[in-house]
């Protein structure tokens, strides 16, 4: 049985984290920011490793955005 995606509050000092996330993009063009985001996602995805958790996270990220398929993962 795979672990579930943890969506409970899990980050201490949430405001600090959020500020750091935005700061990470400071002085970058949109293209550069997209690259940095992609690197960040890849680093975090590898850290998580569990395919079921990653699949769940991707479905939730996509949920309600754009046309086409909606999130497949039930709550």
């Amino acid at each position: 049985m795979s672990a579930m995606l943890n969506t409970d509050p899990n980050i201490a000092d949430a405001d600090d984290f959020y500020e750091a996330l935005i700061d990470m993009h400071r002085d970058l063009t949109a293209d550069e920011s997209r690259l940095v985001n992609a690197k960040l996602i890849l680093l975090l995805a590898n850290h998580i490793g569990d395919r079921a958790v990653l699949r769940d996270a991707m479905a939730r990220a996509r949920d309600g955005v754009g046309a086409g398929r909606a999130a497949a993962t039930p709550r």
Binding site: R34, L35, K39, L42
Partner: protein, 572 residues
């Protein structure tokens, strides 16, 4: 013979007696197309004692180096076909690849990091050599005929045979066959004649091949560049071939004029951008190509069977075209032979379709993924691609995501109906359906390779760690060799045990080994065989003629072996 210039060789049309016959002359198997797949199949069939007639519409071997990368599995099949040594002697062996991103090296990889295999991960060799060596082997065989300038122009399928109309410089004649095998390439005229098509995804991208002859001191490695300074936003591949020829492959994008791009004056600046302004080189071959990942829905249509590019097409990334085609031939030959000998029902040919359709899907999946990585279709996929390449320089995890071609490995046919599922516990990769691993062995005081003692026939491989198989095992192996479908025996003994047993006067042990005159006794020279097969004393494998695992057990049981053999030949 070795000095033949295969590029300029013309293979003369010769009139056949079939052309003067009142009625179409019957052949067991007619193969359409004398490319790598058709020739490999013809040789394999002839080795099984099945007469094969090959018809080719041309009088030349491959124009240009084309396939160039021949994978380890292809070389192992070619060992079985008797041309492996020649291919490896001429080819450039390589295991190392380097991936560059923009102006730096992202990482290097080794495709065969372990020793104890006879063949390298890959050789690079111009396709005309590959075809030329197969052709020279074919020409020396009994019961194998190649007719050049013989173009199949019509096919009449019947329930129990197929009739082909063949056009020659001296008019059209007809031949009849139990089976016709279409090895006639990606545009397969036979496929069209049967009203069939290959469906899939066409990629809107063009690539330029420049084969250049030059004296260069680059190592024998595969160098791949993503977005290099000398060819911005596109990919480039550099590969060494024999005869001081280098393959350079430039991605061009879709919006270029292929006729313009293949003009030497257009190609020279691209090559100089890579090699330097002062580079001295001559062009051997220039080609602009596109590709599609597609396959026929079914590879067997009654008495007409499709193999190689006619059945399935892939992108060139990963060298899965010719390599998978040769594996098609490897899979088909023994099945056709058993069916034609009346030792297996035609259902066995359906397993060819099932197994190779599965393998084609795997190849298409891998080569499509490579293509999507190399040529990202959206801004965001480009960002992820570049992110992977940036991270790859420092982070091993990201290297596993870099996909410049997942280089051809044989499919493990785990879901094949010919397999007998495991009843005993095993670990490792030698599952039913896998191609067997190689390892060094000693026999009769000489060093050799395990794979050379398997293939062409069904083979039981019995591991006997102590060097002395029990008498009932010896009797069982002997009985299997006499079955309607004979099963060859290989006994693998622990390192050092065979010499002890074979000493004169070593009584019981010597007598036991003498009993084995119908079996090959192999010493597991570096104990790698037992390791790679997760074998213990008593472990027994049944291996197919194409060197795939059929079944395995922890002890020798003739009844189980017979049942697995029946299943593997559809005789149930």
């Amino acid at each position: 013979m070795s000095g033949t210039d295969f590029q300029t060789l013309r293979l003369a049309y010769a009139r056949s007696a079939d052309q003067d016959a009142a009625m179409p002359v019957h052949h067991p198997v007619v193969i359409v197309g004398a490319g790598p797949v058709g020739l490999a199949l013809a040789i394999d069939l002839a080795q099984h004692g099945v007469r094969a007639l090959v018809l080719d519409d041309d009088d030349k071997l491959s124009a240009g180096s084309r396939a160039i990368c021949f994978a380890k599995r292809t070389l192992e099949i070619c060992d079985r076909l008797g041309v492996g040594d020649r291919l490896v002697a001429k080819g450039v062996s390589w295991n190392v690849g380097k991936v560059h991103f923009q102006d730096e090296l992202a990482y290097a990889f080794d495709l065969l990091p372990e020793t104890g295999h006879r063949r390298p991960a890959f050789i690079n060799l111009q396709q005309y050599y590959f075809e030329g060596y197969l052709y020279e082997r074919a020409r020396a065989m009994q019961g194998l005929e190649v007719r050049w300038k013989n173009r199949v122009v019509a096919v009449e399928p019947h329930g129990d045979r197929v009739v082909l109309a063949v056009e020659t410089p001296e008019g059209t004649y007809r031949v009849e066959a139990d089976y016709a095998v279409a090895c006639d390439g990606s545009k397969s005229p036979l496929r069209t004649m049967l009203g069939q098509e290959a469906k899939g995804r066409v990629f809107h991208d063009r690539f330029l091949i420049a084969d250049v002859k030059m004296n260069a001191d680059f190592p024998a490695e595969r160098w791949f560049w993503f977005d290099p300074p000398f060819h911005r936003n596109q990919s480039v591949l550099l590969h060494m071939q024999p005869d001081n020829v280098w393959r350079i492959d430039f991605q061009l994008g879709w919006d270029v004029d292929p006729d313009e791009e293949r003009k030497p004056e257009r190609v020279v600046p691209r090559v100089k951008a890579l090699l330097g302004e002062d580079a001295q080189f001559e062009f051997e071959w220039i080609s602009v190509y596109t590709f599609a990942c597609q396959r026929m829905e079914r590879f067997v249509h009654g008495r007409v069977i499709f193999a190689g590019d006619s059945a399935h097409g892939v992108s060139p990334f990963g060298a899965r075209g010719a390599n998978s085609g040769v594996q098609d031939a490897d899979n088909l030959a023994w099945k056709l032979a058993l069916v034609l000998e009346g030792k297996a029902p035609a259902a066995l040919l359906d397993s060819y379709a099932a197994e190779r359709e599965y393998a084609a899907d795997e190849n298409i999946r891998h080569s499509t993924r490579s293509t999507d990585f190399i040529t990202p279709k959206t801004e965001v996929s480009r960002s992820f691609r570049d992110a992977v390449l940036k991270l790859a320089k420092e982070h091993p995890f990201a290297r596993r995501l870099v996909n410049s071609g997942r280089l051809s490995l044989p499919a493990t046919l785990a879901a094949s109906p010919l397999n007998t599922p495991d009843g005993d516990a095993f670990s490792g990769t030698m599952v039913p359906g896998a191609t067997i691993a190689d390892a060094p062995v000693r026999t009769g005081g000489r060093d050799g390779w395990f794979l050379g003692h398997t293939g062409n026939r069904f083979t039981v491989v019995h591991f006997s760690a102590g060097g002395e198989p029990a008498p009932e095992v010896l009797a069982g192996l002997s009985a299997l060799a006499d079955a309607a479908i004979p099963v060859a025996a290989v006994v693998v003994v622990g390192k050092g045990t065979v010499s002890r047993a074979a000493q004169p006067g070593a009584s019981a042990a010597a007598a036991a080994v003498a009993e084995l005159d119908r079996a090959a006794v192999l010493e597991d020279a570096e104990a790698l065989l037992a390791q790679r097969f997760d074998a213990r004393d008593g472990t027994t494998y049944l291996i197919r003629p194409d060197q795939h695992v059929c079944a395995r057990w922890r002890r020798f049981d003739p009844a189980s072996i017979r049942a697995a053999l029946a299943r593997a030949t559809c005789n149930t």
